[in-house]
Each structure stands twice: as C-alpha cells, then as structure tokens.
Amino acid sequence: MPPVVATMVVHQPGDWFSETLQGLVDQDYPGLQFLFLLTGDATDPGNQPARDLIDTMVPDAVVRYVGGNPGYAASCNSVLNLVQGDGGLFCFLHDDVALAPRAVSALVEEMYRSNAGVVGPKLVHWQDPRRIQSVGIAVDRLGVEMPLADDGEVDQEQHDLVQDVFELSSACLMVRADLFRSVGGFNPQLATVGADLDLCWRVHLTGARVVIVPSAVARHRESMIERNEEDDAELHLQRDLVRLATVFTLTSRARLFVTSVEAIVVTLVHAVIVMVTGAPRRGLDELRALLTVPFSVGAIRRRRAAVSRSVTDAEIHALQVRGSAWMVGYLRRRDRRRGIEQAQAGLAGTKEVAPRSSIVLWSVLVAVLVLGSRDLLLNGPPNVGQFVVFRDGPGALFSSFMSGWWNSGFGQVGPVPTHVALTAAGGLATLGHMGLLRTLLIVGAPLAGWLGVWRFASVMTTRAARVAATLAYAAVPLAYTSIAAGRWGALATYALFPWLVHHSRRLVGHMPLMRGGLDAADEFGELGQREWRRTFALVALVAAALVAVEPGAIIALALLGVVWSVVTLLHGAQAQYSFRWAGIAALSLLAAIALNLPWSGSFVRSGWWEAVTGAPVEGGRQLGIGRLLRFEMGEYVFARPAILLVVPVIGAILVVRGSRLPWALRGAMLSFVGFLLVLLDDKALLPVHLPEPAVMLVPVAFGVAVCAGSMGAGLAVDLRGGRISWRQPLGLIVSVAFAIGLVPAAVNTVAGTWHQPGTTLTELLTQLPDQSESGDYRTLFVGDARVLPGSPLNLGYGIAYSVVNGREATIDDLSEVASTRTNDAGSRAVRGIIRGTTARAGRLLAPLGVRFVVVPIIDGGQSTRSRPIAEPRGLVDAMSRQLDFKRRYSSPDLAIFENSSWVPVSSLLTTSGAEASRSAGAESMIANDLTGATPVLPSLGASRDSSVRADAGTLHLAVPYTPKWKVEVGGADIPARPAFGLTNAYDITAPGTVRVSFETSLLARMMAIAMMVAWLAVAWLALPRRRRAARPSTTTVVTGETITFGGGQQ
C-alpha cells in the first residue's frame, strides 16, 4: 500500500476543527501520515487552540508553521520541501473537510484501479450530508466551470459513478507525489480561487487522469468565505481573472488565437446579457477580467514556457464541455428552476412569469427608448427649457468652477454650483464631447430610472413584480414629457429617485420577501457594517448629485421619508424600522447638502425656499387633475389612456395580500399623498409653493410602480391556485386597464423626438446680434416663471424674470444666484415696469448691461402652441410704456424690446456717463442718459484674462461691485471704485493696454478643491472596493525537519 501524507492547511479554524481531525483519525488506511501546515507562526496565540487540538487528537502528526497566510496553494506546495520521496501520495485537505472513515482507502484503491493521477471524493454538505456539494466539475474551453451536480442536490446515488472529470475541488484531492512534483505543484500565485482548475488542467496536459471517486465521501463546511476578507463579488472577479489567465496559459499555441477570439466574443455577449438581466456588476467584472489579460501577457508567457505538454489539444478538448458551459449551465438551471417552480406552484398556488420576460421587457424598453429618441440621438436634443447647450468643454468648466466667480445673470463672487463641476467630470468621461454627454444624459436618464425601479422591485422577490414595476414606471409619461419640455430637474429626479429609494430600503433593513409569505408583515434584516457604510455612501452620492441638479428634489425625498415612515409604523412594523425611514431620508439629505458645500451654503439666506424650489407660479399652474393624473408635463399625444396606469394603485390595495401588502400600501400612500400635495400646489393652496410638478410627480410615479410591482407579485402569488373570489376578476380588470395604459407610451415613440419642439425660444432669439459686434450684453427675460430660461426670480403678481449673458442661457444660469446689489437693482427695475412705478426702467437697467428685454410666451417646452401659457396680464403693454424700450419683434410667441439706453458689459463710459457713475441710486441713472459708451473686452470671463488697447476714460464693468476684478494698464493697477453704487468702474488716466482679470481667493480655491476631494472620497467609499488580500509569498519555505513517505521525521 503506498504511503499517503494527508496534508491539511489550517487557518484559524472554528469549533468544527475537532470534527475535521476526528475524520482524519478515523481513517482505516494504514500508511497514512499527517502533516498540518498552520498559517502564522508558533508564537501566534491564535494558533494555540488548533495546535493543542492537533497535539491531543493526532499526537503523531507533524506540525509546521508556514508563516503568514500565503494562501492554500502556496502552503500546499510546502510538501515539495517537507516531504521526501516520490513513491507516495499527497492528500491535500482544507481544514473544514471531514473525511468519512474509509475515504482515504477508497481514494487510494481507485487511484490504482483507474491509474489516475489525481482523485477526489464526493463532497457533501457539512450540516446535511444528504445534499451533494460537488462530484467533480466539467469545464469548457474558456475555463468556465460547470459542476456535474448542482449544489444542494439530494444525494440519491445518482452521481455515484467513478468517472473522469476535468477538475476536482481543491478542498480534498489526492495526487501522486511524483506527478505533483513534475507539474511543480499548485500555482502559488493563486491565493484564493482557481488553483484547482490550474492544477487539474496541467495534470491533463501530462496525460494523467483526474477521477472522481464517489465512494469516498467528505463533508465540506465551505467556511473559507466566512474567514476570507474578500466579499462574494471580489471572489467572482478573482475567479474570472484566474480563469482567463489559466486559459491563455494552458491553451496550446495552435489554438491560442481562436481561443482568444472566442474568449472576447463570448465574454462580451455574456457580460451584456448578465448586465441586462440584473447583475450589472457581474458583467462589469467579466469585462474587467478580459481587459486585464493584455496587462498579464508577460506573466502568461513565462508560465506557458514552464508548462510541459504530453497530449494533443484534441485529447484535452475531449475532456472539456462542448460549446459554452455558461449556456449549458443556464439551460440546466432553467430546467431545474422550472421544475422547482412547478412543484411550488402546485403547493403554494404560485406561478412565476417565464424568465425570458425580463429579456423581453428590457428589449422592449430599450427599443422604445431608442426608437422614441432616434431623432435626438441622431441630431442632438434642441435647446429647449433647461436643456441648455454645453458650450464649454471640461477644462473651461473646471476653470469656471475653481474661479469663485459665478457668471450667472449679473454675476457674483461666490461658490459656483456643483453641477458645473459634475458636468465637467461628465465631459471628461466623454473625452470632451459635450454634445454627446448632453445627449446621453437626456436619453439615458429614463433608462437609469427604469434600472433603479428594477433593482428596487427585487425586494418583492418575484420576477413578475420587477417586470410590472419597471413597466409601470417606464409607461408613465413623466420622463418623455420632461424631455419634451426640457426639464433637467425632473429628468434627474426620475433617473435617481428609484436608486435612492432602493438603497435607502436596504439601509432601513427591508429584506426581499419570502416568496408566497402570507403574513402581512415586512421582512427585516441588517446589513453588515461595511456594507451599510458603503450603501450609505452610495445614497449620499446619488442624493448629492440629484440635489446639485435639482435642489427641489429634497422635498420629494422628505416626502418619501415621512410617508413611508408613517405607513411602516401604522402597518405594525417595529418602530425602529419606521423611524429609520425618516432618519435615512434626513441623513441622506444632510449628506447631500454637505457634499454640495460650499455652493449649498449660498442657500442660507432670505428667499432660500425659492432658491430650493424655484420661482413660484402665482395663482398656481392650473394644470388640472386630469393632466396631473396623466403625468402630462409637456407635449404628449394620445395621453388620455395613460390615466389608466394609476389603476394598480387602487387594485394593489384591494387584491394584494400577505407580505406584499405593506409595499402596496407604501406605494399607494406615496402616490396619494404626493399627488395631493401636487394638486394643492397646482391650485396654489399651500402656504409655500413646491418644486415644479414634474419633480414632485416622480414619487407619485414611483408609488404607482411599487403598486404595480406588488400587484404583479400578487397576481403571481396570491391569485393563483386559490379559491375563486372577487379578487380574480378585479385583478383581471386592473391588468387590462394597466395594459391599455401602456399604449400611449408606444404611440409617442413614433415621433422620434418625444415631441420636442421644432422651433424653440432660443432659435427665435438668434435674430439678436452677436456679442462680438457691439459688445457683451445681457438679456432680461420677463414673464411667467415656466417659460423663462435660466433660473427665474419671482417678483410676485404672476411675473418672474431671469437674466442671461448674451442671448441664451448657459449651464451657469441654471441655478438661482444669491441676492446682490445688482440683482436687487434689476428686480427693482423690473418691478417698476410691472407696477408702473417708472417709465425709465431702461436707464435703470443700462449700467447692468441689459440690452434686450424679452417676454417669452411660447417656449416650445412647457408652453406650446397647443397649450400656450398666456403672457402675464398686461406685461407687454407695460413694457410698451417704457420710454427707453424699442420694440424689436412681436409675435404670439414672444416680444422683444431693445433697451436703447444700454451700456455694454465692459465699456468706456461717455464723459457724462462717467460723471453720473460717481453717484449712487436711481438719481444717477434716471437723470442721465448713458448711451454712447464704447464697448471693450468682448467675452469677459473670470477663468481667463482679457487684454485690449483702450483710450483714457472710465472703464465700466457691469458686475456687482468687487475689488476682485483687477484692471492693469501698462502693468499698473487701477483701483476699482463703485459705479452707480452698484458696479465696478476704473478711471484710466492714460491710453494703454488694459488687462482685466479676476482674482480668485485662496479660500475659494481651497473650498472648491475640498468639495471635489469629498466627492471622490465618498465615491471611493460607495464603490465596491477591490480590497486585495496581502499578496502571498510565492516561494514559501517552511523550515523544520522533513518527513519521508512511510517513515518518520528526519
């Protein structure tokens, strides 16, 4: 009988270790020697219990310390030094494998009987030995593993057949000592996973057999994952990395090219499928593993050179799975799942939708999105509503962000909004193609929202719930009409809100429901501390991004926190889970505000509510309950049936039972309360106004989706197989109504633009002169807040105004600026127009660089020809009374007036103008005509210096007074003085080259940098970190006396 050295690697074992040792002790094989390789060293107190147990139970065992934790493979390779002779066998064991009493004997017998190089036992579950864990593993050409038996399969001796397998689990395998030495042992680089595949493949290359011996049984506890610091996802990635490295190392030269192409194609296809079907990270890991291969070419070449091949490719292929192990495994799993589902359906009345429904759903949704957006994808979305064109590239945007000069409206010294930096970062991602970024953000936002709902609906476990919820969210017209109306805020909220809810519910502790659970209670559990931290960082990051784009979304988040907190409490859950909803919402809002500092600090001022929620519409928007129920926030044809999408809200409450009921109630209450608030705001019945309805309807739409999801789960679980009652017909009616409600979305794809307007306000304004012709100017828009570009400021009486530099808004203009003297002066002038308290608003606006005053009526977004928002009463008439306004253009779409008294943003004032600029207040402007100023320095910007040759005189910059704008003439500083009590003037005494620059303070720069660092830090926390285990020593040398096969220590 050949001597066998049972080599067990021991790493901080648990209580089970005595059972492991007992398994070894119980072996009846006479020539069995024991070698224990303990990680760490003898002085490590953590090793003492294991050492004591070994000394007690296996007193004649040889114990060696490998020092540190080099990994299983490298530790096993210690036998190459520690055990002398080739005439025996090595039996490598994990420390959580308990052998059945005759296991070693059976393995040795079969090794000789089959003339095998490697043999392994049947592995069964530690706790339940009736369930099979592994009986060998088949592998395809790309190294993808396909276990011969499913994990957990009941052992009915159906696999009790000695057979050749491609791979055996390293948990327990016996290998001939000479063979092990000749192949060089395990690959010591493989610390965690993949060592068994690599060894077995190399054994096959020598022509030796790898055989499973089912008569030898071992219980395996699989405690490695518990003791490993790497999480599941990390192991998946490692497995993919090792698999591909192994394939490229061990495939013959002749097959290498074909295999490479095969690997690329199959990996890409599989990754896409995996991502689309709900495991995006898994798919990304596969892509990442593939992309890593080129960086490992050197190591692969060295390993290939060390591998000896004794057999042909054909012989290896004959041992491998034909085709794709993924596909074979998928088909096998599908059949198995169907069988289980059918069995469960018979027992619990559940009939789950077919798995292909996910693929069909996502195929349809992507098709709808692409088809409906085809014109936007081909030609880019028009500049409508808030969809301003991203004119500056990432560099310019970053410079602007860092400058501390916010060039919105009349400009101001202060923190630049976070969204500018985020856009710059997005520009980097698209390699500076800002148009592409804009298109992707607009078209991709709905997709992001759908994926968020898909992920969230996983809490209801059944696929039917995920399909129904995603379909409902995709079918409400909110996203499409937000695109039509050009509403960034609404679109961002639509895209990110579901993700916030999904991760918030994980933080709260809501766990996926037990399928078929009939108790109307929630399932709760706790995330691990690390995962909780990571998830919260994710929530904070998403909330911060959302707030950066749409500050008003905090109201939607607060609504969610309050409503679900109350519903959870009323529904009988423990109070702690109820309060967590409010707590998580509050914490995420605080985190979002903190991440948006210093910009969010500018909201601490009077008028902060309007800064957060946007300018109100006095008297309410008056959209009406019908339009609100149809989520019709912009152009949308055949919209009426869309109202049926809300039917599941009622249906879910009536039909759904069991553990799905709490979610139905949460969805319904979120919808109802959210809708009530929107309706109250629509009629201006709230003491304060809310963000625009397109934003506030997102929680409502999400509530509808949750109800649809619980309805879908209810149909699959509650209404199948039970006795016939009123629920079944009601469920059918709701389903039919819901199906009809889907039709409008399909119809609206036909246009290909989501009905974005053909002619926009911006296009109509192209008739205004280019700034380079007559100097920089500003355009003042006055009218209903809904049709104004930029960030409107409410004046009351149903009138708001906004100011943009040049003739169209830029990304800087999308957030409301804090009050400055120039803003106040602008507000005063416009209020003077609409209240009739001055006929000289033109002169009041002149030092502010306002050349054009536009009253938009139809912007093509929220106000269209079919549904125009009327001009505020008497506004154009009031403009016509202004003594300095020339009417440039007038149509039903808009009226444009030119301020004949305007002064360019940077200009040399006339003598009388310079004299007037020394006084402050209305007197200095109304009593003096400032016309005749000479424009200088076109395109003044804080992120760049401007120089121009200029005469002596008074240089006027129409910016709020600040000494930070520096002017030099011939290298000499010209001090700034206030002009008109509002703006900057510089008295230049001699002609020369004038250089104008903005001086960014160190504090502003530091704060901007701190903000970016904070975002990166939170992003680092939020992303699943690839924590690499300490790289194992590849040349583990275990010191101490050696042993010989059949002998003792030497």
Partner: protein, 488 residues
C-alpha cells in the same frame, strides 16, 4: 391582524382621495400680472400716493410763433431733499435734455422754448421719486395759461372742443417720447359729421419728437365745433391742443393735453351762468353707440327742477340728451330750466354707460373785454380725498378754488400750502365743513404761502382752480387740481 392593517390602509387611502377631490373643486384667482401698470386712467393728470422710482410728466407744449412770451415747466418739490429731475425738449429736431435739481420745498421754472421763434416744443419731465409735481405755464399777452401735464402716454386721445372759426387757430401736437416711430391716425368731427381724411391716416411721428398739425390746414377751417380723435396704431403718444380764440365770442389762448379715453362720467366744479356768460358743455361721442347723457348741477339753491327735499340731499339729474355716435353735442346751461344764475358744479353722466368726452367752455364778457376758459372734465374714477395744486394759489384771490363733495355724506376739508418751513395750514381754511353734494368756493388769504397747495378732505371731492390771466386782463382760466390716488 391582516384585516386590521388592510382596514387602516384603506382609511388612509380614502382620506387622501377625499382630500384630492376637495382640492380639485377649489377655484383660484388668476394673478394680476402687470395690469396695475396699465391703469385705464393712468394718462389723466394725477399723482400717486405710492412709492415710485420715477415719474414722467408729458406737458402740452407751446408754439414758438404764437406770440408766447415765455414758456415754462414748473417743477414743484414739496419734499425735504433735493429733487433730481431731467427735462427733455421734444420738437421736430433731435431731442435735447437738461438735468435739473429742485431744492427742497421750492419750485423750479424751466423755460423750454429757449429762444426758438418757430415750431413747437414739448417738454417732458422725469422726476426721480414720488414727491414732485409738474405743470406748464405760458406767458401770453392775451392771458397767461396754466396747463396740466399727463403722467403717462396713451394710444388714444380725444379733444371734444375745437374752434377754428373766424381765424381762430387750433393745433394738435402729437408727441412721441419713445425710441420707436409711432404711427397715428387722426379723425375729426364737425357739425357735418365725422371725417377721416387720407392724409391724416398713417401719420408717422419720429422717435422722440413732436409733430404739430394745424387743423385749419388739414381741412377743418372755420369750424365752430371741432372734435378730434388721435389713435396710435403703433406705439403710444401724447396729444395736446394749442388754441388761439379770436372770434365768435371766444377770446384767449389755451393749451391742454387731450383726454386719453372716453368715460361715462365727468365732473366740473367751476361752472357759471349769468347774463354775460355763455357756458357750454361740449359732449363728444367718439364711439360707435349712442350715448344717453344727463347733466346734474350742484350749488346753492339748485333743485334740479324738483321740490326741495331735506332727505334727498343728492341732486337729481335734470336733462337727458342723446349724443349720437361720432358726433358733438353742445349743451348750453342757459337752456336748463330752473338753473339759478351764478356759480355751480356739474356732473355729466352717460345713462347707458357709453363713454364720451366732455369739455367745459366758459366765455364771459366783462366790461369791454371777454375771456374764454376751456377745461377738461375730471374723470369720475379720479375723485379723491386729497388734491394737489402744483402752481399754488395767489394770495388774496377770490373764488380761486371750487371744491365739490361728490358723495352723499357731509365732510370737512383743509387747505395747506408749502412754504420755506414746510407744509402749513392756510389760516381760515382748516376743517371747513362741506355738505353732501355741495360746492365750496374758497378765497385765498393774502398771506398764504406761495408754494404747492394741498387740499385734504374726509370725503371724496373734485377740485378745480380759477387762475388769473395776469397782464391786467379780466377773467380767469380754469385748471383742474391733481388728484392724489391712493397706493394700490
């Protein structure tokens, strides 16, 4: 437990749905927008009690070749700080401007013909803030003329009374203070009816200029009744009238801004009947519908044809007159039965609410001389508790101000004036009673301050002044006060 939870959920949902239904039934009012800026009466002479950034005053202007000795705009500053103003001079030539500082509690006079010998000059005054007021004053050998200025422009202007008989001249001056050209249509109405001559359609008034049109030259020569309407089809303008009466019983010089719109009620406080007096109410209906008009008189001993009734203190109308569309009707008060001779006040009302324009023409012969005073009516919506008289009052003047209580309530009023020490009550003119629908005529004490006068009452009143013609001439001109509109 499941049933209880479901019930609770239902109750929540039902409550919310009920709330939604209730909210949906609620109606809300549309916001007012900029309607306030476009008040229908904004172009009538008035001052606002509200805080203003600036106020603009558009005066009637003067013709340099008419023999006017001096032409001024009087800017009154009753405030405690300097008043910053800017005066623009509009004519057929490019606009000129002049900044002005008016000292506290004083008046500034800006001459606006500035040596011109031909052409028309129209002054426009911008005042910073709310305090100041503006009137135009012409020195003319045939009698000085004080005129009110309009605080706003308008797209329409009407003139009910016109007169080109026997060599009398009448000019219509159209001023466009805006940087855009204005396009204007003019129509005029004579005894023969309304005319729309082609040469008066589509008149272009250049930006920031004034255009003078002689009615005689335009075909309305030798007309004793001549009403004019000016309608701007593009832009907004100010239209004024400059008249020189020299025939058919009229004598004198008159300048006035037009009436910006037809209304259904007009107040006059300085009426008079007598042996040597011809008093006419010229009613012009520029609309398309017949207007049924009544005139009601107020004054001592006037019963409007009814028996004296202690309880019925409000006067009752005595006349009902048809004013057909597009026509002029002259109502001679001498024809009104039972109207006592002497001073009285009047209100002209349209019974069927069809707007019309009414002017008051008073011609009186005194000794060997005569005078004619032409006055625009006071618009019904502008009767006020407070009135300002920018040019002040002449000490010792008799019957200088007439005040009509337009309400059915008795009240009191006080008269104050601004002097170097600020606003002071005029002795003897404090807390004077005024009965319902009664008229009070005031004599000015000799030592009254010469500054701007303020009349304050606790009932709504209408106020007109009789201004001396100076140069030793008898008679007077009649000028309305400036009603103070409360802040909106």
């Amino acid at each position: 437990m499941n049933r209880l939870r479901r019930l609770l959920g239902f109750l929540l949902v039902v409550a919310t749905v009920a709330g939604i239904v209730m909210v949906d039934r609620h109606d809300v009012r549309a916001p007012e927008g900029a309607a306030v800026a476009n008040g229908v009466l904004s172009a009538f002479p008035q001052v606002s009690d509200s805080r203003r950034i600036s106020s603009s005053w558009f005066c009637p202007g003067a013709a340099a070749g008419d023999g006017v000795t001096n032409a001024y705009v009087n800017i009154s500053n009753p405030g405690e700080t300097d008043l910053v103003a800017s005066v623009s001079f509009m004519s057929a030539d490019p606009i000129e401007q002049q900044p002005v500082i008016v000292k506290p509690r004083s008046r500034a006079q800006i001459e606006f013909l500035r040596g011109r010998t031909v052409g028309v000059v129209v002054p426009q005054v911008e005042l910073v803030g709310t305090i100041g007021t503006v009137e135009q004053q012409l020195e003319f050998p045939g009698g000085d003329v004080t005129s009110q200025c309009a605080p706003d422009t308008s797209a329409t202007w009407h003139f009910a009374d016109g007169f080109t008989a026997e060599g009398s001249t009448e000019r219509i001056v159209i001023t466009n203070p805006y940087p855009d050209s204005a396009v204007v249509n003019m129509t005029y109405t004579t005894k023969e009816g309304s005319r729309n001559p082609a040469n008066l359609q589509g008149l272009i008034v250049a930006p920031r200029s004034a255009k003078s049109l002689s009615m005689a030259d335009l075909g309305a020569r030798d007309e004793a009744r001549l009403a004019v309407s000016v309608t701007a089809t593009t832009g907004r303008v100010v239209a004024s009238r400059i008249q020189h009466y020299i025939g058919l019983g009229r004598l004198g010089y008159s300048t006035t801004v037009g009436t910006p719109r037809a209304l259904s009620q007009w107040w006059f406080t300085s009426g008079r009947t007598g042996a040597q007096v011809e008093e006419l109410l010229i009613a012009y209906n520029p609309g398309d519908e017949l207007s049924k008009v009544q005139v009601t008189f107020f004054g001592e001993g006037i019963t409007n044809g009814l028996p004296i009734d202690e309880d019925n203190v409000a006067a009752t109308p005595t006349q009902e007159i048809d004013v057909p569309a597009g026509s002029i009707v002259a109502i001679n008060t001498a024809d009104v039965a039972d109207l006592p001779k002497g001073d009285h006040a009047m209100v002209v009302s349209s019974l069927n609410d069809v707007g019309l324009v009414v002017e008051h023409v008073l011609s009186q012969r005194t000794g060997g001389s005569s005078f004619t005073a032409v006055t625009n009516g006071l618009a019904d919506g502008l009767v006020s508790n407070t009135w300002r008289l920018p040019s002040g009052l002449i000490g010792g003047a008799l019957n200088a101000v007439t005040i009509l209580n337009t309400s059915a309530d008795a009240g009191t009023f006080s008269v104050s004036a601004y002097g170097p020490g600020g606003k002071v009550a005029i002795p003897g003119l404090e807390n004077l009673p005024i009965g319902p629908a009664s008229v009070a005529s005031l004599n000015v004490p000799a030592d009254a301050p010469v500054g701007e006068v303020v009349i304050e009452s606790n009932v709504p009143v209408a106020v007109q002044r009789r201004m001396a013609r100076n140069h030793g001439l008898v008679g007077f001109t009649i000028v309305g006060g400036l009603p103070v509109r409360p802040a909106r």
